[in-house]
Symmetry: C2
Subunit: 351 residues, 2 copies
DNA sequence: TTGTAAGCGTTATCAG
DNA sequence: CTGATAACGCTTACAA
């Protein structure tokens, strides 16, 4: 504050050194808690710095140390509230460690994802949390370009050769739980709805496995993107198979997509759960307030962001070899109104 | 890409210059489209740069030019989906101009808001979009510290002396529309629910004015924060006034808070709209899917983020004097199921 | 314990 | 039109 002419010169180490008649190195050492400066002098320097309203020029520090104090968060889709909570947890943890968060969204665009990785590298971003696009090579590029820590969010099987940190919810348990729940209700024609390029194809695999294990034929619908329109199109295609063949229940990877289904179902003048049972994943705050309340798997999204940040910062500040770690967050089924027994007992078991 | 030893040296201007046997200055000029280098040489340089996988070290550029290419987005609350869309529009616009977005959340904490402004200033952030906390002086600090462009989001009357850009929805129209709608339904005991320190106190003022203009006594409830708990507490306090005095309708500043009311109402075993009409603001995507669908004012949130970014970038890249501008986004009432005539005709008109 | 000086990779000034 | 050269503000050997 003090001498704050709008955009006026900011105090530098040299200013402080000059004022005190000491060397710049001493001031730097003092202010960074490095050894090499006596206690009395250190105190004097600290006081003067505070009084002159000094704070470090991060650009200079970054240039010199190749450390920016920036942590990148690169996600697929800024519109999914899921990421809000992840980002919240992430930001809180970073803030506690004095790092700022650089955020970017790839919008499911491989080129943009690549461009952002590069931009982050150019900025000497210290570590990257990435929710990658399937088919993209952002994680690989990041490590090749920077060698800096990488945390993969919700991408259990993405780039399996990458020595990366991983945080994801227990997709296997979620899919098994979903199928079990629906089968118990009497469903046979269950389909999964996923979005292309989401790098969550492992989820679809888990779904297939779960279905097979109970003797049912798995079907996976792929929407071209996460928009409600795309979801409606996909759902419409399924309904056109006719009442005896279309799905009686649909399982999604996210509550966000489930919302899309809700909207589509209204467009199609159908009813949840009478005509279609819907199962989400994430348990967004609003999901319990929907009409009908959404059956879904809860996952600690904030904890996810927090853990990702924590692992990255740990790796960053540790001298020892960074061992790739994996955090799998448990899921918990919340049974609510969007799932029920199928209306029509389907005779032709679809095996 | 090319010579990418993990974390290996990145190509610098000097590398290119050496390879080509020219000066560093020439390479810099060529790559930045500055005059001072012939066309043939420029072409050669560009090719070699691309081939060597060169990209600028932003830390060095930032140190030298005092321009980081970073745009700050400082909001109050990362958990409100409202900001997701604002951030989306903001990020898209910035990306289109080659700027990255540094995001921060003050969590309604004045000290943290101040710290973030300072951190952004230290980073040579080029411009700041701020959804400020009431009572905070972040905007002022920013301008004093940096003299860089400032855009205020949804803070119509915050720091009125600040020569800042402003983007906000038409709070006056929203409040007038809300009151008009509720009065038409037959409500008299209408209350506004706001959160402390939100710097949206102008909204409450508009509410009061609108109420008075129809001859009703305005009452404003203040929740200590945006959590569902706090909202429930506040609502409970109102209900305890008894059926003849408690509000029959509540108007909020955001759908997010309206969600909190939905949750609280369930806790209290009440019914919307029978026991309480609820009116939101923002028209989040999910709001139409709620039980009951939320009556609310639509506002173009993405456009808000886009406009904020656009104005900042414009100011940044213009040589002429930056004239403070204001963008007021129109609102549009979406009448849905959360508002209806009050259950009990209230006899004692609460004037 | 303290001071000195060499960079980090750019941009920008100023002689050739 | 070109090519040295001096900053930008900081960290970090290394010398005193």
């Amino acid at each position: 504050m003090s001498d704050g002419a709008p955009g006026g010169q900011r105090t530098t180490l040299a200013d402080i050194a000059r004022r005190l008649g000491v060397s710049v190195g001493a001031v730097s050492a003092a202010l960074n808690g490095r050894p090499g400066v006596g206690d009395p002098l250190r105190r004097t320097i600290e006081q003067t710095a505070a009084q002159m309203g000094y704070s470090r020029n991060r650009s200079a520090v970054a240039l010199r140390t190749r450390r920016s104090g920036l942590i990148g968060l690169l996600i697929r889709n800024l519109r999914n509230p899921f990421f809000l909570d992840v980002a919240e947890g992430f930001e809180r943890e970073c803030a506690a460690h004095g790092s700022e968060v650089l955020i970017g969204s790839s919008h499911y665009d491989v080129a943009r994802e690549q461009a952002l990785v590069r931009a982050f590298a150019d900025r000497a971003v210290d570590a990257l949390a990435l929710a990658p696009i399937g088919g993209g090579t952002a994680g690989q590029s990041w490590q090749a370009m920077t060698g800096a820590p990488l945390a993969l969010i919700n991408a259990a099987t993405y780039g399996q050769h990458l020595p990366a940190l991983r945080v994801h919810s227990d997709g296997k348990a979620a899919m098994e739980g979903a199928v079990r729940h629906l089968v118990a209700l009497g469903h046979h024609r269950i389909t999964a709805l996923a979005v292309k390029n989401s790098s969550e194809s492992d989820r679809s695999e888990y779904f297939r496995a779960a279905m097979r294990s109970v003797g049912l034929r798995p079907r996976v619908l792929l929407a071209t993107n996460t928009s409600w329109n795309a979801i409606e199109l996909t759902l419409r295609a399924d309904r056109s198979r006719g009442p005896a063949r279309c799905a009686t229940a649909v399982v999604t990877n996210s509550d966000d997509m489930a919302h899309g289904i809700y909207a589509a179902v209204r467009q199609l003048h159908l009813n949840i759960p009478r005509d279609l049972s819907v199962l989400g994943n994430d348990d967004l705050d609003t999901s319990a307030l929907l009409d009908p309340p959404l059956t879904t798997h809860y996952v600690d999204r904030r904890g996810m962001g927090r853990d990702a940040a924590r692992m990255l910062l740990q790796t960053l500040n540790s001298t020892t070899q960074p061992q790739p770690r994996e955090v799998v967050l448990p899921v918990a089924l919340q049974v609510r109104g969007s799932t029920s027994a199928p209306l029509t007992r389907d005779v032709a078991r679809d095996r």
